[in-house]
Symmetry: C2
Subunit: 677 residues, 2 copies
């Protein structure tokens, strides 16, 4: 303890010498915020402390960080659940609700920005229930509670949540509306945190409460936060400029054209609540959540092209303020509430997106008498349609990613049959190879490395307990990707270790046929992903087979690996595909308990050469990774499919060979050889 004291004193002196704005006390808050951010932030946070960080200061900072890290408690680790079990957490929440006169409370897996990845401080559903999936909603009443999850997570939730505490429900088949309508007592009050639910969600649940003769009520000061005693602070990861050589367009230009479009619609300002929109609009990137370089923040965009950014200023790396320039005002996050009031009082029409913005935004605007225009986040479509520089970046990133994948697959072909590798060791090898690539920043999501039966679990994540050895006779499925400064990648390959059975080759080839049918599709402008989805399923449907997930998701440019509004799936995706959008093409087939197959390339929507009468779009394949020829049954492919496969493999060979070592190059030559006719 004495040691720690003297360390802190030394650190304080070093901070002062370096001219840092931080002192002995305030540095503690920064360190807490860095620890509350993903581990990556711990490698780059020094620049937030001072313009120049000499080695002595760096060492002192790291030592202090390590001390704090050792004592870190966030309530989310297995041992935390042992100390404070789920039942007690629920009890504490219920006491707090009773204290406030609430009959129930909504606990969504969401933060104020509705992202797929959230910071530790927003892991409320995880803390309460133990459920770690990326989507879900708990409804806690006095004597009952239910957890709603989608099809991806029903199994996982039943393992993670102690079932007597929560009734487990399927989000879409047994929607919360019905449960609320039938479980809430008459005259009851069901609270919700208006920062954690979108206006659309609130408007969907409100009538359900009304059906029960009860009320849905916004509650400030989240009651769960009161009982989550060791809740971490908001994350503090450095926010840095995203250079124009990667972005392809200056922020000023983006703000000018989007602002002008607002003006045409007679809108004075748009409220932006999605960090990916803000990152794109202002050409900045952060690190507040895992795998997606998000700067958690809010912003306004005015019709004259000016913007206001609401963000913890401690996160701004040196140079970022200058990069933002004089047309972008920076204010602390707490200033958002009052600023919404000012916005309203200025009298112009304010747009906000009811699908993505927190209900609190609308409530504040309404309370201040704003003229609200419900409109889509104006950045969504422009961000989704990549410009030529972003597309060129994506191609370059995919070449680098393809080289890493080729090195990995070549290594795997040699090592896996020996039986010395496991799901985790393989994933680590792959990450190491990727991280050698130029502009590499992070994985774009936790690698899905599934051997044998684990491949059939669509969102499998190997743990030390589940980690399976790769062995002959297995199929191995690896779904992975990276964040490079110039692009985001996501690729899935399924490979046979040793020889595969006829059934497995049949299934793989049908999945491949679907994959090819989608990427070769030509379609008129205006066509949505939903219209194309069945192309990817047809060869499976012919044999009474299918897969229970979407076929393709949008992908950002050094941003979210899952990005809307574009999507290829069975339903709910009437958004027209537009040139420049990047989507995945990932049909699959899963035989529970035996094996899983998925093939995924990223595609960019492109305008095809004029033919006929309609402007016609198609896809450019971005991903450059060989497909396991030993799993292909050539008799099932038609001429067009074979031609595509051989051309694709020839392209992979031509583009990737120069980037890899001799051994990988030899493997690649064989792996990309034309199919025997």
């Amino acid at each position: 303890m004495k040691d720690e004291e003297s360390g802190r004193a030394a650190l304080a002196r070093l901070l002062e010498t370096a001219g840092s704005p931080y002192d002995r006390e305030s540095i503690e808050g920064l360190i807490e915020g860095v620890l509350a951010a993903p581990p990556k932030a711990q490698a780059s946070w020094h620049r937030l402390v001072a313009q120049r960080v000499e080695p002595a200061l760096a060492k002192a900072l790291d030592r202090r960080l390590l001390q704090r890290k050792k004592a870190w408690r966030d309530g989310l680790a297995a041992e935390d659940f042992a100390l404070l079990p789920r039942s007690l957490r629920l009890l504490r929440l219920r006491s707090e609700l009773a204290r406030r006169g609430l009959d129930g409370f909504l606990v969504p897996r969401a933060d104020a920005h509705q992202g797929e990845f959230v910071a530790l401080s927003s892991e409320r559903l995880h803390w309460l229930t133990g459920f770690t999936g990326s989507a879900g909603l708990a409804v806690v009443l006095e004597d009952r509670a239910a957890l709603f999850v989608d099809g991806r997570y029903t199994l996982q939730a039943s393992r993670e949540v102690e079932s007597p505490l929560y009734e487990l429900r399927h989000m879409s088949e047994e929607p919360p509306e019905d449960w609320i309508a039938s479980s809430l007592k008459k005259g009851g009050v069901l609270g919700y945190d208006p920062w954690l639910s979108t206006l659309s969600e609130v408007e969907r649940l409100r009538p359900a409460a009304a059906r029960a003769g009860a009320e849905l009520k916004a509650v400030g000061d989240n009651p769960l936060d009161r009982v989550w005693l060791d809740r971490p602070p908001p994350p503090l990861a450095p926010v840095v400029p995203h250079e124009e050589r990667f972005a392809g367009e200056s922020s000023a230009s983006k703000r000018a054209r989007l602002g002008a479009a607002l003006g045409v619609d007679r809108i004075a300002a748009a409220v932006l609540t999605l960090p990916e929109s803000i990152a794109w609009l202002l050409n900045i990137r952060g690190g507040d959540v895992p795998h997606t370089p998000l700067p958690l923040s809010f912003a306004f965009l005015w019709s004259d092209g000016r913007a206001s950014l609401f963000i913890d200023p401690r996160k701004l790396a040196p140079g970022t303020l200058a990069h933002l320039g004089s047309s972008v005002t920076v204010a602390p996050a707490e200033a958002l509430g009052p600023a919404l009031g000012e916005l309203a009082r200025a009298g112009g029409r304010i747009s906000a997106d009811p699908q993505t913005a927190a209900a609190a935004i609308f409530e504040r605007l309404e309370a201040a008498g704003a003229k609200i225009e419900r409109g889509r986040d104006p950045c969504l479509l422009p961000k989704a349609c990549k410009n030529p520089v972003e597309l060129e970046g994506a191609r370059a990133a995919h070449r680098r990613d393809g080289a890493a994948m080729a090195r990995f697959l070549a290594w795997l072909s040699e090592e896996a049959p020996k039986g010395g590798e496991s799901e985790i060791s393989a994933a680590e090898r792959l990450e190491a190879l990727r991280s050698e690539g130029e502009h590499f920043c992070d994985l774009s999501f936790a690698t899905i490395s599934g051997a044998g039966a684990h491949g059939a679990i669509v969102h499998y994540r190997a743990s030390r307990e589940s980690d399976a050895r790769l062995e002959r006779g297995m199929l191995y499925l690896v779904d992975s990707g990276a964040q490079y400064l110039d692009g985001t990648t996501d690729v899935t390959r399924t490979v046979a270790i040793g020889e595969a059975s006829a059934e497995r080759r049949d299934r793989f080839t049908r999945v491949l046929k679907g994959h090819i049918a989608l990427l070769l599709a030509r379609f008129p402008k205006g066509t949505s992903g939903a219209q194309l989805d069945a192309f990817a399923r047809r060869a499976l449907w012919q044999e009474g087979l299918d897969y229970d997930h979407g076929t393709g998701h949008g992908v950002g440019s050094y941003l979210g690996v899952h990005e809307g509004p574009q999507r290829i799936a069975k339903t709910g995706t009437n958004e027209a595909l537009l040139p420049g959008m990047i989507l995945s093409d990932e049909p699959g087939y899963y035989k529970s308990g035996e094996y899983g197959i998925r093939i995924e390339n990223l595609l960019a929507v492109e305008v095809l050469e004029a033919r006929g009468e309609r402007e016609t779009l198609g896809f450019e394949s971005l991903t450059l990774v060989p497909l396991d020829r030993s799993l292909i049954e050539p008799a099932l492919l038609d001429g067009e499919e074979k031609a595509w496969l051989d051309q694709y493999h020839a392209r992979v060979r031509a583009e990737i060979s120069p980037l890899v070592d001799q051994k990988t190059r030899s493997w690649l030559a064989a792996a990309t050889a034309p199919l025997a006719r």
Copy 2:
């Protein structure tokens, strides 16, 4: 006049002798109602007059009908528009609105049952604007008026409506909501007839009026009816039993099982407003609107299987009351309003369908304090899923229809090249041939008979002015169908008169490839028509071509030729296809000013033999009519497509040959010969 007087006196005596409930005065109302029904009713109305109609009475009735018919004025004929031009009609309506303190009024093309075909008395939009399409909405304000129509009708509307009177708008691209929000004056009152708009429509338009600071207000006693002086009365066409040998299930059985399902949902009664639902549920058919055997009426279905039918009792043919039985109460249409009040006061939960039921239904129920459950019309899905008897009937009807089509096409192949036939003469020939078939009742819609460039007009209807001669070098498109007691048909064939160019053969073959791709689709249970739509377009998309209409609509069983909820189209059709549903498969290609191509068969959804893991559905082809082999480019077909075509033609030949004359049989043999390989 003297003559007419003595005729009426004689008729009165004959009525009395026959024991008719009608006398000199009341028979006039019946005759007006018969004249207000489609012409078909005039061939069968005698049975409404008396149990036995002797020849003298029959003659007197027909003479009186003819007298009244000569003097018939409904305000809808061309000469009526000459006498009272559109501008004066609009002026009269505006005066009436002013008199009532209304700033505007909605005039939808709709009756109280939301059907595609409406009776003369409901042709308000036609009377006001001259627009004759089957969907549209006029919004009439003090100084402006707009007519909203969908893509099918933009051209037609611009011809039929005098444009200075109405701003012409595209229903979905420039929706009425926006026009109302920007055109209605602050504090204004926009009236609507709550019997002519569904609750959903009202709920969509109400916020638009609110955006303008105005109000949407239900108006009793439609103001337009006040100024449409010669508006016909509601139609009176005989309502007859639909025999169980065609329906396949007794009304008692249907009512019992649907009632039980209501009971499970704790619903006391469902309000039925769709005449096709009532026709299906009660096994009755009427003739109040053209081409669909609808008995315009309302009904309640109780959870115990009882029903109440609200209908003008004059329409009930002898035997229909007995057929309905003691569990179905019959009350006059005017009794509906009070009955809704009683229903509400009885206290149980009442279901009504906001998508299809008039807003007035909900308003009455609400006013009476009913517990309303918004639910889908309970007959929709059971009616859409045909039972085995209905499917057998459909097959039989399609054989008969196929025989008529074969005779027609054989005749056409000989006559058309001579140049002596026209669109109308050909359509009349086809109708005559069809009408010879057993169980024939009516066409299922006005035949689309389009030669050359007229084929490119998707909803073309030949008039005396447009009637084109069939000539060599043309493509001829004929889309037609019939109502048989055992089934409803709808088929489109495109034939070449003389030789067709390579381009036309290419286009025809691509349309055919799409048609085949859809009907050969195998898909898992749960798949919607929207998911399959692109199969029918793919071969066209490949060449930058497409068609701007849906691919398939549902079809009833001796009911609507357009029936929901099933549908195959680009969007808005998430309804899963279910075994027994009948759908059309009708891709097309249209070259404006030159030619149109469409190929349409009806398909029934069937469960396919088990294969793989998922319950798989597919289609049975019901239509049995040869496809013009001279328009097929065999090089564009793959092996599977050729095999289907030859098998289909072999089946057509086998099933139709025994039903036709020797000459047609010879033609059929050639027309259905296998493709040359």
